[in-house]
């Protein structure tokens, strides 16, 4: 509250962002990391959807993310349109240790491209990067998984296993290629370590076209308490952990 309202009279606008992806890929954890800079090992599954807000300050403006975190289980999918309605941005999350989750993510991307508001900014996010062996990155497995991407579920789950204790099943290359093809932002993150989490949101904030921004809804007086606290806390964490990331001072 302190840093957004009085001291910085930057134009502020709210952006509706929705998280989609298979169950247990870490959607809620990503949000929790972003909003509270916190991580919980065994988080209860999201029932229906959760709603959180967080501000992100860019050099030119402040963006208030209204984050809709959805349930991941397949049968909850029919509830999703309720949440992505009018969304300006979407995080489609998969688990880099589970190739089926990328397939599911691709389904979501297709759904959003056809059904969500036109011009929606979509970011593809491979979570649980902390489980990957940094060196083993996208090495041998590349070819096979590429095929896997088109619809086959978890075909090579076993194969990657024996290689160097690396739990990664989806090579960065594969997902990146797909993201490029579809024109998506792409990140690999770890909600556990905080790696890249803020960057995703900053990138989205930057990618939202100026024209599609609406002003903050209503007077916004009441929405202060929780956010304000969140802001302050995250700010501290960020400053030490990541250094001055481009713009996002959330």
């Amino acid at each position: 509250m302190a840093d957004s309202g009085a001291t910085q009279p930057k134009p502020s606008s709210s952006v509706k962002l929705v998280l989609l992806g298979e169950a247990a890929v870490g959607k809620s954890s990503l949000v929790m990391r972003f909003v509270n800079n916190d991580f919980q090992e065994n988080k209860e599954p999201t029932i229906g959807a959760a709603f959180l807000t967080q501000k992100c300050t860019l050099p030119s403006r402040t963006i208030k993310f209204e984050i809709w975190d959805t349930a991941g289980q397949e049968r909850f999918a029919s509830l999703a349109p309720m949440y992505y309605r009018n969304a300006q941005a979407a995080l489609v999350v998969y688990d880099i240790t589970k190739s089926s989750s990328l397939t599911k993510a691709q389904h979501w991307v297709a759904e959003l491209q056809r059904q969500a508001s036109p011009g929606i900014v979509i970011a593809l996010v491979g979570n649980k990067a902390d489980l990957a062996n940094p060196e083993g990155e996208s090495g041998e497995g590349g070819g096979e998984v590429e095929e896997d991407v088109d619809g086959v579920v978890a075909g090579n789950e076993e194969e990657g296993e024996e290689g160097s204790g690396d739990a990664r099943k989806v090579p960065t290359k594969t997902a990146k290629a797909y993201a490029d093809e579809e024109g998506l932002l792409f990140f690999e993150t770890s909600a556990k370590t905080g790696m890249n989490v803020a960057d995703v949101f900053t990138a989205i904030a930057n990618a939202i076209p100026e024209t599609s921004l609406k002003g903050p809804r209503g007077v916004g007086g009441q929405s202060s308490l929780r956010e304000g606290q969140g802001d302050a806390r995250v700010n501290l964490g960020r400053a030490t952990a990541e250094g001055p990331k481009e713009g996002c001072a959330c």
């Binding site: 065994n42 029932i47 909850f76 009018n86 088109d150 809804r217 916004g220 929405s223 929780r226 956010e227």
Partner: protein, 1126 residues
Amino acid sequence: MFNFSNLVQKAQQLIIEPTLSVAGPTSDRRPSKATLFRHQFRLPDSQSPLQEITAELTLSPHHSQRSASGEVGSPEKERTQGNHYVGKLHLSEQFLCFSTHGSSFISTASLSSSSSFTGQTHGAGPAGNGFTLPLCAIRRVERLHSQSYMFALAITTWNGSADGKRKNVAPSGQKLTIQLAGSRIQCERFCDGLKKGLRAGVKEIENLRSVVSECYSEYLLAEDEEKSEGGEQGKTAREHPDTGLGLVFKYPGNARKLRDATKIRLWREYLRENGRNATLIRQPTFHKLIRVGLPNRLRGEIWELTSGSFFLRLQNPKLYTETLARFSGRESLAIDEIEKDLNRSLPEYPGFQSEEGIGRLRRVLTAYSWTNEEVGYCQAMNIVVAALLIYMSESQAFFLLSVLCDRLLPGYYSTTMYGTLLDQKVFESLVEKTMPILWDHLQKHDVQLSVVSLPWFLSLYINSMPLIFAFRVLDVFFLEGPKVLFQIGLAILRINGEELLDATDDGTFISVLKSYFARLDESAHPKSENPKLRAVTRFQELMVVAFKEFAGITQNTISEQRAKHKDAVLANIENFTKRTSIRNLGPESKRLSPNDLGFLYDRFYAILYERQQRAEIMQQEADRKVKAAKAKAMEVMTGMGGNAVEKGRVGLGPSPTQMDYDGFREFLAGIAKWAVTDSPTSPPEASGEKAGHSYFGNSMRSRPPMSPWGTGPEPADHEFMRRLFRRWDTDMTNSLNLQNVVTGFAQVKGTKDIMSNISYFFELYDDDGDGRVDREGILRISEALLFLSRRGMGEYSPSHSTVDLQQGGSPERHSNRDEQFLSSISAFIRRCFEYADPDHPSNQHQPLSDTVENPDDNFAIGTDDEDDLIDLKSEPTTPVPQKPSSPKDHIKHPLSPIPSNTDPLSSTSTPTSPDPNLPARTEKAKAANKALDPNKPLYITLPTFRMVILADEILEQFFELGFSSSFRLADAPLPSSASSSSNLTTFANAGNKSATTGLGIGGSVGGANAGIVPPGKGLRGMLDNIVSDGMRVAAEVRRRMEEAQREMDREARHGREEEDEEDEGASGAKDADLLEGAETEDVEVERGSAPDLLGVGEGSGMGAGVEARRNRSASDASRKVVEFER
């Protein structure tokens, strides 16, 4: 006193009741009386109301403690003391039930539907005072003689003595007196029923013993009794029953603060006086005790009793352990999903950080997923079950979960979660009704109410409120039913109304409620002067608002609202499902247009749905016939207001996704006219009321008895369809899913490449995949080609229809084309045999020149379609001059049963005039003959097949366009309405009056085709087709003119074959004596193996039909051989 208040209540109900039922749904939406009865008393689905009678229940003070052996005092004396309740006594197969809120249905209501709701709970649960006694819990029934009552029964129960261990102890059986108020006959009948039930109930006593021994109440009271008996038996005899994880890991909340000890004491007193577990009697105190919150150790048992899961357990006490044992070691998707969530179910409760707790949770969820595979596992179930497990044993939680899924939360956890979505809609509409200002505010600011309310309902407030409060909501919920969830939800909004009106976005809205939940234990009126008021917590306030202010929200309200929104919600889900599944069909599907995909999707599921419906209805009809006398309501458990016939609807959850061969036939019959049978077994139904997408119309029910094919045309059964089916069934499941069908169509329709179409066809007949099709295969291909073309050939068949035939007149050009096609097929067979391998290389040369000829013609024609259009008017009649058919022909071909069947073209092309090419031909034929010898196996390869196809212009066209366009998808409507056909006919006739009149073909072919429902078309599409057809026909006819002479000469010999083929396509009987010559036997042998190959085995007329057809073609083949030898 109680009597009086009951009367007042009753009067109130009578006053309130009419207003409730004013806007009632249509009567067929009403739950049946049997459903209401079961819901009211929480009985298992096997129970139905057999008897009911007005009665008065008399409970003397401490009636349960009085010695059963003691002499019963006179009824008059008893009447003066104790509590009296007037209500209805009901008898079902295994239960005797009594409630002062009597029935939730008037007694005259029929079994199949209740005409009116009456009781306070509207069948939602056992409100009111009374009991639900399993008959096996009744020890003795005595008839008391008295003057004032004709019938008075004294019922002694097994209360407190069902435990086998304590047989030596004098039973402290509880005794109730019931006076029946009714005519003597009624009373006699009731008592007879009761007697029968009691006798049957005797064998359940063992179940009762084992179930009851797990009840905490037994332990609680036994402790008592033992104490009073001097403790001689010793407390060691009893183990503390499993009352959930709380026993080990502590129950949530501070027991002292919750006043748990006091509550236990009160319950102990209540149970001592009013019976325990199976024999519990509900008096007003019972309801009060529940409203103030259940004590920890009794909570599970009371939940079980009020929800009715106790009775399920009583029926099958070992189901849980048996299920676990039976499926042990098996894997499923549900289990994978369960595993993901085990560590994240109430993680803050210590029990679920331990292996013990997680193990229990795993077992209960897994066992349930096996017993209800349709539901399997849904997130939120983990939270609910975890909560239950704090207070109950695994087995208890297992049964309670099934009551939740089946009855209390219908459709909540199904794969489409339609119940959840529906209740959100219902909740929104109730908010709109009861709090219009708040509702407008939410609308104005685009706040999504369901974001907050959905988890409330889905996880029963368990992860919204602090646990101790959520459990108190559950206490009432299990007793009073689903309406409680709505009442609490509305009360939450009402209490926070002021603050919510200030909230202008979802975030604020959510945080207001979050902070409210966090302070539920605080005082609702902290600033009040009145200490009593100050002591009221926010939660107490919530309960009061929920049950007082929203007392008007009854189960009936909910049912009505559900009925109102059901269709919209289901349609929404179905749209979403359709979209998603079409999108996920994979890259192959991209070859079809989105419209086509949508069409295929609708058609596919419509067929599956309709087939299921028909099966169900026919089943019901059969059932009805079987037990017409004993009307047992056929209901599917879809909860209140559930509509049995809608089961299987996509939106309701798992519906069939696999189409068997019969379904596939029906599917094809709707989109390809060749797939409609020539000989329908049932008269075609003229009703074309099935409109495009409304395949879930409720009209299903009012239909007259149906044919196995519903209102659609009866599909044909041809080997080709089987082959197609097998080809598409890539997963070898002997059934097709949507993916298979779409991929199949993508291959057939998605390409305009003639070469790939030819290969496709070839592969269909290349059984072993070795790139060769043998003689049998060649004959089958030709059969298939005839089969496919017998109704005209797709796109470029003039006027698109066989309709005209039915009208008794056929356009000349139409038949003309058909004849040409026949001739082409005959040529096809000949050429196939000629070029089949192994062959003499010397023969290869000449035929090649032959084949080159025709393609040349084709290409020339293809280019000048446009010009030909101009000549359209004159062209169609041109074939007429060719008509002169020599009577000789008919004589020469006795095989054609109907002489008039011969058509102009084949006649003209079979003159007996000497053929100039004859010598060459015969030579060639002789060469080919060797190949035809059945003793010498031969085969054609794909290149040969391709060459043969390309050698014939008509076949070429067929493979280029005809075949794929014979399937009509989105751009061409379903063949449904007969009315549009008349348009078509009119047009066709208008252009061809002169041509049609002189021909007899129409009649004969029409005879064979009778009953075909023609394709309905929009006017626009019709015109388009006619124009394009006209163009093609014009071109075709002109070319034919030029070719006629040459053909006449050249094809002289084959004309006969043509006729044969034609007969095969259009007519039925053939003489068996055609099967002459040595070859016959060989063919017969070959045929012997055919049924296996085809997997015919239908046992129906269809199978026989195929057989007959094959018979014919076999004979044809042999005859041809004979001919060639001549």
